[in-house]
Amino acid sequence: MEVMREVWEMAAKGAVAVLVCREQIPCNPCEEACRRGAIVVGEDICTPPRYDPSRCDGCGRCVAICPGMAVVLLDRSPGGGRARVTLPYEMRDAVEAGGEAWALDAEGVPLGKGRIVRTAKASRKDAAMLVTLEVPEEWSLKVKGLRVRVMSLEAPQEAEMPSRDEGRTVCRCEEISCAEAQAYAAMGFRSLGALRRYSRIGLGYCQGRFCQTMLAGELQEATSRTPEEVGTFRVRPPVRPVKLSRLGGEDG
């Protein structure tokens, strides 16, 4: 918590990274991204990163690259009870400075609306775009995501369920349509995990990020089971595709 206090103090003067990564997962792009040596993972790629905020200049490279969305920038310099949080944003819909977005907590629950003060395209093609939201200072540390879609501004909970148009692709990696997903869901699987193993939905390159909610919805509908009973995909490392050479300890 010492680091957290330091970060909070520093943020009064300008943007600084807030890093909450405790997963023992083989992952280190943040270390590579940080040109100031503020983040160190070291030899053993599975240890959580050590972070020295005093070296951070708030450039945001680590925010854009972290696959676990474990880093945001915090900037309390505007004062007046307002703070700015910079988050990665991976959707392709238009986000424009001046607009509004829902600020979400770690569970995806909307905390409230924030104003978009800045957007920045990533310099690397595999890194996310950065969006800076201005929000009340009290919940600035809870903000872990944002949602911009106009529809969801009115009804964020509803909008999570995508349309069930039959031709729509549910799993892009395995090219499985909504109609096929429905057919799989009707086959009598009890859990999302079992359905995934059989249908391969969510077993592709994206690791189920896009399709999980849709598949869960179909399964709940087909089995009349609750979201808890249906469960979620079990997250196993790596959280995003990583070259085998990196796991093997050789840098590739």
Binding site: Q24, I25, P26, D44, I45, C46, E174, G188, F189, R190, S191, G193, A194, R197, Y198, R200, L203, G204, Y205, Q207, R236, P237, P238, P241, V242, K243, L244, S245, L247, G248, G249, E250, G252
Partner: protein, 390 residues
Amino acid sequence: MADVLSSEVVVIGGGVIGAATAYFLCKEGAEVMIVEADDLSSGASGACDGFVSLQTKQLGGHLEMARESSQLFPSIVEELEVDIEYNRCGGLMLARTAEQLKELKARAKKLKAAGLDVETLSPSELKERLPDVDKNVKGASFCAEDSQVNPYKLTLGLAQRAQEMGATILKGCKVENIVVTNNRVREVDTSLGSIHSRRVVCAAGTGSNQIGKMIIVDIPILPQRGQILVTESRDRLLDHIVSGAEYLGTKANLAEFMPEDEEAQKLGLGFTAEQTASGNILIGSTREFAGFDNNTTPDAINAIARNAIEFLPWIKDLDVIRSFAGLRPCSPDGMPILGTVKGVKGFYIATGHAGDGICLAPITGKLMSELVLDGETSMDIEPFSLYRFK
């Protein structure tokens, strides 16, 4: 659920062994109920590779079973509606050292004498089958009959076909007790109610020990964890199932093939790789006793990756998209436990297949069906009796 359920035979466990047993029982016209605590394939059968490998079996009954099993696969492929992605691709076992190659040669000789077609390949012969293998690999043994299959689809396909032939499948139904009176099984109590039955097959995988306790019999099964990496899907890169000689060492506890590295020994590390029909490469694996913990661990993931690069250098450029771990039902000698139990009529055991359950499922199902319905089997299963441990 109806108040009174009954079935001629109750199969406990919806893994590949339970499904195969139900399938063969149904083929003989028996009335069967599969009782599964979770979902079909939720145990080891849904978290494994799909090697149907003969050259990795231990000489004797184990190998014989594997050979019989291998011969049953083609007809199963015909009879199941699900495409189980069976591929008779042949299997390579790679030697890293000259000593290993020598041992593999000696082993090939014995396997040949037992009727299995295994040849040893020189580095240049190996290159023809496995281009871009690491230059330090000294050669390999090759068995053309080694195959691969999708284990999940095999389990589901067998269960589904059994269902079509009349089997009832109760999922989310946990066996909590087995009622035995006058030395005979009478009833299976489950979380969903009681089932009257005079014949029960225990195919509960790592849950078998628990089931044994219900009839006061020790079925010595320990969960043995195996961890696997999954790469992105690619066009065909591997035409065969591939393993390293150390895999045989850690699997069958053979001193001559044990890894030298201490950490590898501790993890029970043995290299395996296969490309599935979907194009992903499954890279294995470990053999650890960690209780019922089926998480993947950073140490093992790193070790598996490092090990794989040493055999197939090109593999390092592939993206790993997932890892998983499964718990093998493992008996003290790593071989199945099949047969009856003294003093409890109507109780049958089919478990302990450790790392060979996918390969041995067809023959196990067939033998269990014979045992349950006729009281005798077409192959001698005495070597797999529970009482060999006493």
